[in-house]
């Protein structure tokens, strides 16, 4: 990865706190390569046993959705209430549904 004037590349850190859970973003570290990024993430973000698995991703490789497009990206989903089970009324006395 390209580095400028002594600044080490930035890596985003994701931790799985225990098996069965998703990895979650916790912060970032600086490191010259992937190996060092994992080591630094381990030392900086898991001093109290916070994780069982670490992902590091070069920050530059993350493509984020544009917050300015929040409306067109996410609002259309908001009115599709029929996607949620609570939308439906089940008569009393019907079980197992």
């Amino acid at each position: 990865m390209k580095t400028t004037s002594g600044q080490w590349p930035l890596w985003e850190v994701f931790l799985r706190s225990r098996n069965g859970l998703h990895h979650q973003h916790v912060g970032s570290v600086h490191a010259v390569d992937a190996e060092m990024a994992v080591a630094n993430a381990r030392d900086v973000y898991t001093r109290r046993g916070e994780g069982v698995s670490i992902w590091v991703v070069p920050s530059a490789a993350i493509v984020a959705s544009d917050p300015g497009e929040k409306g067109e990206l996410f609002e259309p989903a908001l009115d599709k209430v029929y996607r949620h089970p609570t939308f439906y009324e089940i008569p009393d006395g019907v079980a197992n549904i």
Partner: protein
């Protein structure tokens, strides 16, 4: 960096955007890294988060000063873990600041150049072991008081870093109070050591909350932007109210002749810190300002060849992979 592309848009003084932002923040909606935000909000956050990060990094020194002389192996392990946590907290905070489009290197350069501020408390010397107790009890106690409201700060990455920090910080305060309890129940020399530490750290701890509300420059906007939740004087009062009974428990005397409990208000009335000393320390005239910065610069300079070597090695490895 994934947030940098958005910087340019801030330059546009879009009043509609700013008004929408103010509304969102007033409604307690969180602001995230890529969201549009007023340039002044971004600037305020960068200043505050980086000062906070610098404080953690400089704060390693006064306590680091006693790691090699800790009087038992248990205490040595605790102190080492605590100073290490401070480096960790500094890094969480630099990482939060970097989401705002500024690089850690830039911020560290400001610290090394002496143009960035950090908490004035770390410009006081640690003269005895009891200072490890007093720092944990008073300085971390005051810090927690300041920091807990920051967990609800409007800027998401800062708030999340603070949650992580606050969780770890409570161990810091407790270990400090435990040292004070042990010393105050110890030999006569140990009790004297504990009292002396309280005498020296009490007033600087009160100053950690900053100047009186009437003198505080950034307070109003920070309150409106939900970066700050309580005023300096409110937090200072709260600190005195919880700390004085703890000093009583230790059998130590708070070095303030004006201190008294006011039955009517249910609060302690206390004397005025020496604000001229506070200003002098901020100006760089505290007992350890020069020493702390020189230490940081030396560590940074001594490490330059190591950082270059690591980069050079990574570049070689990458070239080999490509070839």
């Amino acid at each position: 960096m994934y947030s940098q592309a958005l910087d340019e848009r801030d330059g546009v003084a879009d009043e509609a955007v700013n008004a929408a932002f103010e509304q969102r923040v007033a409604a307690e909606e969180k602001v995230e890294a890529n969201d549009r935000m007023p340039a002044a909000y971004r600037k305020t956050l960068i200043r505050q988060i980086s000062q906070h990060a610098h404080s953690e990094i400089i704060g390693m020194q006064p306590e680091g000063n006693w790691i090699t002389r800790a009087p038992s192996l248990r205490r040595k392990a605790i102190l080492l873990a605590k100073v290490q946590d401070e480096a960790g907290h500094g890094l969480y905070l630099y990482a939060a600041a970097e989401t705002l489009g500024v690089s850690r290197e830039e911020l560290v350069d400001q610290l090394l150049a002496g143009t960035a501020k950090y908490s004035s408390i770390f410009n006081y010397p640690t003269l005895t072991w009891a200072d490890m107790g007093a720092i944990g009890w008073l300085v971390d106690g005051a810090a927690i008081m300041n920091q807990i409201p920051l967990c609800r700060c409007s800027y998401g990455p800062y708030a999340r870093a603070m949650m992580r920090i606050c969780k770890e910080e409570s161990f810091h305060q407790r270990q400090g109070f435990e040292i004070m309890v042990t010393l105050s129940r110890g030999t006569e020399a140990q009790r004297a050591m504990a009292q002396d530490a309280l005498n020296r750290w009490w007033w600087p701890s009160l100053m950690m909350f900053g100047p009186h509300d009437s003198e505080s420059t950034h307070s109003d906007t920070s309150m409106r932007w939900k970066i700050k939740r309580f005023s300096n004087d409110e937090l200072r009062q709260k600190f005195v109210d919880v700390t004085v009974p703890q000093a009583d428990f230790l059998g130590l005397a708070v070095p303030d002749p004006d201190l008294r409990y006011d039955d009517a208000t249910g609060h302690y009335v206390f004397g005025e810190p020496d604000w001229s000393e506070f200003k002098a320390v901020l100006r760089g005239e505290g007992p350890c300002n020069a020493q702390r910065l020189a230490h940081r610069r030396r560590a940074h300079d001594d490490g330059a060849w190591v950082r270059e070597a690591a980069q050079a090695h990574a570049a070689k490895q990458q070239a080999e992979q490509v070839a």
